[in-house]
Symmetry: C2
Subunit: 657 residues, 2 copies
């Protein structure tokens, strides 16, 4: 049986497990990327590992989310990240140099390599044959420390492309069509592998628009084979030597297959407020438009902005519509400026922005109330633009520009008919991507050799290896369905402390009991008790990190939400399941002692743990965990385990490598 | 006796008073400008005037402060301002088109005309012979309604320029030298008139750097005569027909005179944290620099950025220093882009921003903690950059760029010696300022013909003509030295409601008594009692507007701070002075009735007003006010008076015009 391209790359990097869908596999990571909102904690965790340098082939730190630097904490974060990259041997991309996915694609993405990134759109370089996966911050820290990345083996789905895109249809319409067919849940647990004769009609930047937005399908990743387009793209970036020919075997077996005939596509648009709410543009034509933005990691490249510039040459945008262009990278900005397009766009009435994620994450250019905004971005979740009840549509640069010209949504084919002199600008690549690379500081040019921490940057908490005894007071007894938002709220007044666990911990469970954090600090540790479904909701790791910081050693709950349970293991907190009788009987303030020798029992694979309450009565609790989870827990969490493995001289390299 | 240039322009526009220093004069206003943070209230007040259109020759509304549109309220404000400009016949400069002073200079500033603007750097176009003055928002509304602007006749000071600037010294060093000599208080109540043989060595953009920053001297305005430079500047902007030859009489008498020999100047720098803390650059050479920003209304023109571009051509900025360029206008951005300089700057590592006030007012690119920032701006007050304890230096673009190259403060003369191939870029003007003007919407192209108010935009309160009776409960009795910060706090959570008086009024005097606003609303009016120096501190008009909205009809205080007292007149609230005995005796909750016929007594010029308390005892209070103040008060405030004058068919035009 032949292998899919995904399987081939995974097989090359396999450290543990079998390539069976649903099975947990461990893979070696070649490259990692982090950005500025997730990167500070990644590096603080890496600092806690106490290693001298990054163990992956390449690590790259980007500053792209908070580049307007509205608060000194943003600027401090950027300085800290520069110092971390310098200290530990990562590349540092300066604020203003662009979005991580764009800059990584331009400078580092390599066919056949694995990339792990602390950003959900990490799969972008799948467009040039890299297997790229988004993950949590701790996974990145561990990978940088040489640890494998563990993931459920995804199903590989074949997306067969046929034909060629007709006039005015673009790569954005390919992925919008995928979303229209499959919905935002259609890709969960899957990798989409694009194949078929239509592939060769798409350039690398078009392919990365598709792989980038595979994230909106919920996919683990998306990937294209490599070909002459890939080689030429790398050559234009001065990196032809990194080209590798990659394709699935001819007899590869896919879990599923679907076909898109490119020639059937037409301009599509995702209506508010979900990326899969896709209809033909003509269906919403005539809707008045207040704001148009071209940019983001999906459509912020040189090739994405060029069509807008060509469409606007000699024209002006509608006076009632604001149009902003935020290039995805400075490479894009610089080439556009050098070729004169920036001046043309400005003359047409466009507001040209710094290269930043910016508006896509609600930072800057928030729409006016009760207004319509057309954006070339990848997400239009309600409120993401920075205002509740927003009306954000997602579309191609061509559709966005047509709306800016007419002041309302219009199919560019119809606008072309109306104007008479508007032509499909097509998709054009430059001779070379000759934007300078002065904004990337290589490890050997590093400015700093030690960490620079502003007053809001603390340390990452790290667990201690499990001991025989766990005992303490029940500091809080909670109801069913406590969310991670209850454990650590994400309102903006609290979110700003995400690099400062000491400060952030003051808010732990404050929505349940305002006195909790102080009591936990005073008690020097203790345990938590909860009902069903403890830790549901957002995957945030801080919901385990802050209790760890406060000294919580165990959580006794009737049941745990899946991701939070994993986070408790990852941070070395013992998650014990109790029955409803025990839940009913145990009270806040009780003294709890785990009678079983915890360290020994966890390592021995035991499932039953006896708990003694107030030295008065006993209950049986259970720990169901895989061998890997037990190893992590016993070690005191994933960070501690990685640190230990490194100290023992082990690493994550596959045995046959 | 000959006239100064200032006196000539004032004489041409005089509506009331004599040109004697210290005397109040009323002048006709030809042009007004407003920006986005002050403009909303200006237009709401104009709306309250109930006029069909702006009465000045020209009104221009700019969007420059909040152009990153961080919050939907910013975007809503911009939409409202566009609708106000369209409705009432003003020019509208779109967000992204640049800073009001730069765009006004390029498009509208005209020699010999008067300009009133709701921004402290309004005097900028003094560099081309316009008499331009910054004022409060209500003054702008009144001027737009056809009312005169009243100001104390300033002293006119002759600044005689001799010689020519040596290499690496710039216009910025001229104004820094002025600040070094005269301090930030040295210009209070004065207009600086630049004369002498050195004038002709300075181009218009250099002159406007000087006049712009005259504001930092505390000056009422600064002005240059016109000459061939002025004509050429206007011709390059396509406005040569607006040229007028203007100069002081040869025998003009000045209140004071000082001489600056330009050839004596060298690169200067203002150290933290005051613009007059000026020393030679060499005195602080070697200070490590984290951030450099070129931009603002002082040094954000094409000619200001060009030297930086030339200095950086073929070089890179220091890796430890971030450099941001925020052009003052899109005209500057567009020409720089068209000539290829934008691409060169990007290649050197510069982060190129939108055209905005931005960082100069602490919005974006806030310095990191304990870092040094060199900026070409006009102010470095502590905390203005967005972080307390900042270290912001002010200097020329050349000094800023030299620091970006070396990573530390360095006199560019010394850097030139060190590098061997760095030359003074000089000051170069373009052939023509050919940036397009699509971002200015003229009144006849207006998008809107009615106001568009988002949910945060309310109405301006307007007083009612004084009646015979004023009576009500003492809703609050306050101590001495109540500030306008007590009356209306300016913390950011409250500041965001400055366009929403209804909402803002909820915070009135909340720092003194949290129940006050609600009690005032419930009581449907009443009076305030205070000790000495009521209303000291910031000049904010909202400290009168909000009490007016809550129905306060009179304030009884032992004494009033000067500006707040004027604001009480302007908003139609009766300020009565009481003696210490009355202050001691009167209590919160007392019923107060002004026995004197208020309307009649105010108009008749009476100074004594009898007040009856609890129908039990009486006290004599006093009102000292000029005839103009009495007219304003009787009418129900300045807005109401202007409205009334307009309805009566009167206007502010001088009798002999």
């Amino acid at each position: 049986m032949g292998l899919t391209l995904t399987e081939k790359i995974l097989d090359d990097h396999l450290v543990e497990g079998e390539l069976e869908p649903g099975e947990e596999i461990g893979i070696e990571i070649d490259q990692v990327l982090t950005q500025d909102t997730t990167g500070t904690m990644v590096w603080l965790q890496f600092e806690a590992l106490d290693l001298d340098e990054v163990q992956t082939e390449l690590a790259a730190q980007y500053c792209d989310h908070q580049t307007y630097q509205f608060d000194f904490k943003n600027t401090d974060d950027h300085r800290f990240l520069r110092s971390a990259a310098g200290t530990y041997g990562a590349y540092f991309s300066r604020p203003g140099n662009g979005i991580c996915h764009n800059v990584h694609k331009e400078n580092f993405a390599a066919p056949g390599k694995t990339l792990l990134g602390s950003d959900s759109h990490t799969p972008t370089p799948g467009g040039l044959g890299q297997l790229a996966i988004g993950a949590g911050g701790l996974d990145i820290s561990v990978a940088m420390g040489g640890g494998a990345y563990y993931v459920e083996m995804p199903e590989v789905v074949n997306v067969r492309l046929e034909g060629e895109l007709p006039e005015w249809a673009t790569a954005k319409d390919v992925i919008l069509e995928m979303l229209r067919r499959l919905s935002v849940k259609g890709g969960v647990g899957k990798v989409f592998e694009y194949t078929g004769p239509g592939v060769e009609s798409l350039s690398v930047p078009e392919r990365t628009t598709i792989t980038n937005m595979g994230t909106e399908l919920g996919a683990t990743s998306s990937i294209f084979p490599t070909d002459e387009h890939t080689r030429e793209y790398l050559a234009r970036q001065g990196r032809e030597e990194e080209y590798v020919e990659l394709a699935p075997d001819e007899d590869a077996e896919y879990a599923d297959e679907l076909t898109i005939d490119l020639s059937d596509l037409e301009p599509l648009i995702a209506k508010p407020s979900m990326p899969d709410n896709v209809v033909p543009v003509r269906e919403v034509a005539g809707t008045s438009v207040d704001q148009v933005i071209i940019g983001s990691c999906t459509n912020g490249g040189y090739e994405d902005i060029l069509p807008a510039a060509k469409m606007l040459e000699g024209r002006q945008i509608n006076r009632k519509t604001e149009m902003i262009i935020a290039p995805g990278s400075k490479q894009a900005s610089e080439i556009l400026a050098r070729e004169g397009w920036t001046a043309e766009l400005m003359a047409a009435g466009v507001n040209f922005s710094e290269a930043t994620c910016g508006a896509c994450i609600g930072i800057g250019h928030v729409p006016a109330s009760e207004s319509v905004s057309l954006r070339t971005f990848n997400r239009n979740f309600e409120g993401r633009s920075g205002i509740e009840d927003d009306n954000v549509y997602l579309c191609s640069p061509e559709v966005a520009t047509a709306a800016a010209i007419k002041g309302e949504i219009v199919d560019p084919r119809d606008l072309a008919d109306e104007l008479g002199d508007l032509e499909d600008p097509g998709f054009e690549l430059p001779d070379a991507y000759d934007g300078s690379k002065t904004d990337i500081i290589a490890p050997d040019e590093a400015v700093d050799d030690s960490l620079i921490k502003g007053p809001n940057i603390g340390n990452a908490p790290i667990g201690e290896p499990l001991e025989a005894d766990i005992a303490g007071e029940v500091l809080l007894k909670m109801e069913d369905n406590i969310t991670t938002d209850h454990i650590i709220p994400a309102t903006s007044d609290i979110l700003m402390y995400r690099s400062n666990i000491e400060k952030l911990s003051e808010f732990t469970l404050s929505r349940v009991d305002e006195t909790f954090a102080q009591r936990a600090m005073d008690a020097d540790g203790g345990v938590l008790v909860a009902g069903e479904n403890y830790g549901q909701g957002s995957s945030r790791e801080h919901a385990a990190m802050c209790p760890l910081y406060l000294g919580i050693e165990a959580v006794l709950a009737e049941s745990f939400a899946r991701i939070h349970r994993a986070n408790l293991f990852n941070f070395g907190i013992l998650p014990l399941t109790i029955d409803s009788e025990t839940y009913a009987k145990i009270e806040q303030g009780d003294d709890v002692e785990v009678v079983t020798d915890v360290a020994e029992a966890v390592e021995a694979g035991e499932e039953e743990f006896t708990v003694r309450v107030n030295d008065d009565w006993e209950a049986t609790t259970t720990l169901k965990a895989s061998e890997r989870e037990r190893r992590i827990l016993a070690a005191g969490g994933k960070l501690r385990l990685t640190k230990q493995q490194y100290e023992d001289g082990g690493d994550a390299a596959p045995a046959d490598d």
